[in-house]
């Protein structure tokens, strides 16, 4: 056991220090392998960047599509409960490629409290929502585009300020070009 006698120095003395050539070669190989891993696996899976088409071949780009970019994840504070493929409904909708994101959330609101649920969507993407309340709540549903004509611009789709006391459920289908925001509470 040669190593045992070498335990004294803070950093172990290298028995044979590698040559410049060996270090340069190892560094070059490390960089080359890293680039291969990046371009064949990490970039397609993380960002959907797929210059070599290996991501499509290995279905890694599906990961990027399913999770969305980090930006999109940040704009959607609601954690996805689960995502499964859903058939696109017929009608005014354009069929959406890939899979749908499905969220659901239970909220408790105290009197005079409010909550706003926000989504950032692609232009032309569809959104289906439904909600149920166990007490009277006021609600409003609006959207605003990424490039607003002015700071306070928004388009309201639905407004109900005098929701009576009844448990109810709504199902609204909309083809949206905007950030839909559902505001609950009063």
């Amino acid at each position: 056991m040669v190593e045992r006698s070498l335990q004294k120095p803070e950093y172990l003395e290298r028995v044979q220090a590698p040559s410049k050539q060996a270090i340069a070669k190892a560094t070059g190989i490390a960089l080359a392998v890293a680039l291969v891993i990046l371009f064949t696996a990490v970039l397609p899976a993380e960002y959907g960047i797929d210059p070599l088409k290996t991501g499509a071949f290995l279905h890694l780009t599906d990961l990027a599509k399913a999770s969305g970019s980090k930006m999109a994840a940040k704009a959607e504070p609601n954690a996805p409960i689960g995502a499964r493929p859903v058939a696109a409904p017929a009608g005014i909708y354009t069929a959406q490629p890939g899979i749908f994101k499905i969220d659901s959330e239970d909220l408790s609101l105290m009197p005079s409290e409010g909550v706003e649920i926000k989504y950032h969507m692609q232009k032309g993407a569809g959104m289906v929502y439904s909600w149920k309340a166990t007490a009277p709540v006021a609600f409003e549903f609006h959207g605003d585009p990424d490039n607003k004509p002015n700071k306070d611009y928004f388009e309201s789709y639905e407004l109900n300020d005098q929701a009576g006391f009844r448990p109810f459920q709504r199902l609204v289908h909309r083809a949206l070009h905007r950030h839909p925001r559902l505001v609950l509470g009063k």
Binding site: V15, Q16, I23, A26, A30, A34, I37, V42, A45
Partner: protein, 237 residues
């Protein structure tokens, strides 16, 4: 006896390479980020929550492959417990300063750029372990200073990620200190696992030869992390 020792050596080498490449694949899983479920807890939390933040800090460190990759590089050639404690303390000092200072002072940085520097720290230490600096520059930059500087960056990365979440002012200091304590606990846990693996490996006679290759693998991990983060920077821009 010879054959047995050789087989063991091969097995340990293969295992080590596998463990290191697992870092690469966990990069693809995005293990580093505070998970969405934890994020919504942090955002909805009001007031001090010591245990929860200690847990989150520890979890962050244990699943934070970039920090662990750097620490593997730092302790790779450290044998005496005294040295390990010394270097890890320097790293801890560095990242505690910027974690606490960054969050409390509200200092922001681009998280992708910070993470790219952290990836670079892995490349740096691997190159250092290969004896690259002494060979190419004729001297080895002070390892303790390098560990301190990269520690500062690692802490800044943590601070930036925590600030992406809406932290309640109520109990902020308690929670940040708890998070930091958790980070240290997680670091000790991760280091213990690394030290056990390195300890077994070092008793093998081929260690020094394999060490060179292992550091090349570690460097690869570092380069992948840099590329991953730099690409993220441009995608987000």
């Amino acid at each position: 006896m010879q054959v047995r020792a050789f087989r063991l050596r091969v097995a340990v080498f293969v295992a080590a390479v596998l463990i290191l490449s697992a870092f690469v694949f966990s990069a693809a899983a995005g293990a580093h980020n505070v998970s969405k479920r934890d994020a919504s807890f942090v955002e909805s939390n009001q007031g001090p929550a010591i245990a929860a933040f200690v847990y989150l800090g520890a979890k962050h460190m244990v699943t934070g492959y970039d920090h662990i990759a750097f620490l593997v590089g730092v302790i790779f050639f450290l044998y005496r417990l005294k040295d390990i404690v010394q270097y890890v303390s320097i790293f801890t000092l560095g990242h505690s300063v910027t974690l606490l200072g960054g969050v409390l002072g509200g200092v922001h940085a681009n998280p992708y750029m910070i993470d790219a520097v952290i990836g670079l720290s892995v490349v740096y230490k691997a190159f250092d372990n290969m004896d690259g600096f002494r060979r190419f520059l004729g001297f080895e930059p002070n390892t303790k200073v390098a560990v301190l500087i990269f520690g500062l960056f690692h802490g800044f990365g943590l601070a930036t990620k925590l600030q992406e979440l809406d932290l309640a002012k109520n109990g902020l200091i308690t929670n940040i200190i708890s998070f930091n304590v958790g980070v240290e606990i997680g670091q000790v846990l991760a280091l213990t696992a690394v030290l056990i693996a390195l300890g077994v490996w070092r008793t093998q006679s081929g260690f020094l030869r394999q060490a060179f290759t292992a550091n090349a693998v570690l460097m690869t991990v570092g380069f992948v992390l840099v590329g991953y983060q730099v690409a993220g920077y441009f995608v987000a821009a």
